[in-house]
Amino acid sequence: MTRREGSAFAGLGVVFTKEFADQLSGARMVLLVALIVLTAAGTVYAAIQTIRNVVGEDPFLFLRLFTTAKQPLPSFVAFLGFLLPLLGIALGFDAVNGEFQRRTLGRLLAQPIYRDALLFGKFLAGLTTLALVLGAIWLLVAGMGILLTGVPPSGEEVARSLLFLLGALAYGGVWLAVALFFSVLFKNPTTSALAAIGTWLFFTVFWGMIAAGLAQSLAPVVYGFPEEVLRQAQTELMLARIAPNTLYSEITLALLKPEVRALGPVLPVQLQGMVLGTPLPLSQSLLMIWPQFTGLVAATVIFFTLAYVFFQRAEIRA
């Protein structure tokens, strides 16, 4: 078999530019960004009300902006954990079947480009849009924080929050890839949107319960030994980590709360010699969530690859 002629990415830039422009000018983008900006402003403002009194005592005041919850509002990161999948799905659920419905796919693929360029261009455009939104929100939060608390963030705080942003992007990327995959699989955008939202709901709402149930049967506590209890807890955590939202919340926790030293059960023997409440250096926090971050990227790659394989085999005719 001879090599395919020309680059698989011929036309990638053109597709990317068009899709990116479409994303930014679309009505759904306006809606979602308005939603996210409002939540960001609301939660951060509420957080500032809470942390005002500890200004000067807390070395990581800036990071508290992201994580502090004030009843009845959840914290900003919790909101983001909810809104990012929604944004990712909204950006990708009709990427391919939308072209099909508008009957533009045949015309598009009759141009001198490969399908690779089309799919990859759409994914990149979605990811860039996501990055753009996250960047804007970060600036909004940082700006509000500096204005309302009067404390500029330290270098480490900026680094930590930007790394968190990267984690959030990876988390959004997973859902973008999932949505893209369903948009290849189903010919109808409504079906693909429902499938993507269903998957997300499954992991957010049900997977935790399923993981707990599975852990009980996989690693039962028969005699009540501490080893058994630990084994069950570990099994449950590993199972829970199949869900992207678990990975996201662990990344959030480790990066935005430097005093967190371990994710999961800790034995008393491991606590020996530990000065509780002292923050970890950034490199150590990063080391702790490296597998989680890799996991999110891997999930994205898997779903994108699935979408790619199905799209290459898809029949063009309606």
């Binding site: 001879t2 395919r4 002629e5 020309g6 011929a10 036309g11 053109v14 597709v15 530019t17 068009k18 479409d22 508008r102 009957r103 533009t104 045949g106 015309r107 598009l108 693929l109 009759a110 141009q111 001198p112 480009i113 490969y114 029949e315 063009i316 005719r317 309606a318």
Partner: protein, 311 residues
Amino acid sequence: MMAAIATQDLTKRYRSVVAVDRLNLEVERGEVFGLLGPNGSGKTTTILMLLGLTDPTAGQVRVLGRDPVREPLSVKRRVGYLPDTVGFYDELSGRENLRYTAALNGLSGRRAEERIGALLEQMGLAEAADRPVRTYSRGMKQRLGLADILIKEPELVILDEPTLGLDPAAAHEFLELIGRLKAEGLTVLLASHLLEQVQRVCDRVGLFRKGRMDLVGPVPELARRVLGGAYRIRVEADGEGLEAALAAVPGVERVRREGRGWVLEAERDLRPAVARAVVQSGGRLYALELGVPSLDEVYRAYYGEVQHDAA
């Protein structure tokens, strides 16, 4: 010169269904070729294989001397394809839609703008160019589709049911545009089931049936092969025993009663002989016309025949 399209035993199977069965098609450059057949007879599948959008199960394809499976990009750079259900981005204007296609073909900047402007003008869309496509009529979209495939300055144009859903005036206008393409030296492959239209613009036609193309040639030749007698002589007359007299004229193959007269099938133009026969048998002759058989008749006779075979 190399043929624009050449296929050798081209076959496409979808599981157990044979969509295209050992197709041998040759289309010369500068020719307008009509691909005819009922829906589901393999026309669109053939077109997709010509463009490398679906891989053949067996056989060879050459489009403009290249293999669309191995070199899809160079084929698609030189071939314009208008699908049967062409769609555009509704929220973008006609001009913006064309700009995207131009960019995908590596055309941008002033050269692209000039070419887009000229094509919109040529297709009679200059006024609507900056309106969103959602406001376009079906005929306008179809003309925009033609502009869209001409941007890349193709050597071969493939049109799949281009007049589907157009009103007669718009269809007529569209066919004129196709005629103009031929005048510019483009090769055109036109798939359709609307016979009358194909007959008007095509140099040659191929009849598709269940994935096979058994009949290829210019319309009169096809008529001769399918209908037997290629000449139809319509006689309007009255008198005693005329039918027998007409059938007795040498060269008449069949006499059929139709309306107020008869239709004779003959191998030659027998009008003088027919006139003489009518007059000699004492009949009164009102009209005598020579009809060219339409593709419609060929089609009906051919497919009718085939259905009888199957039954």
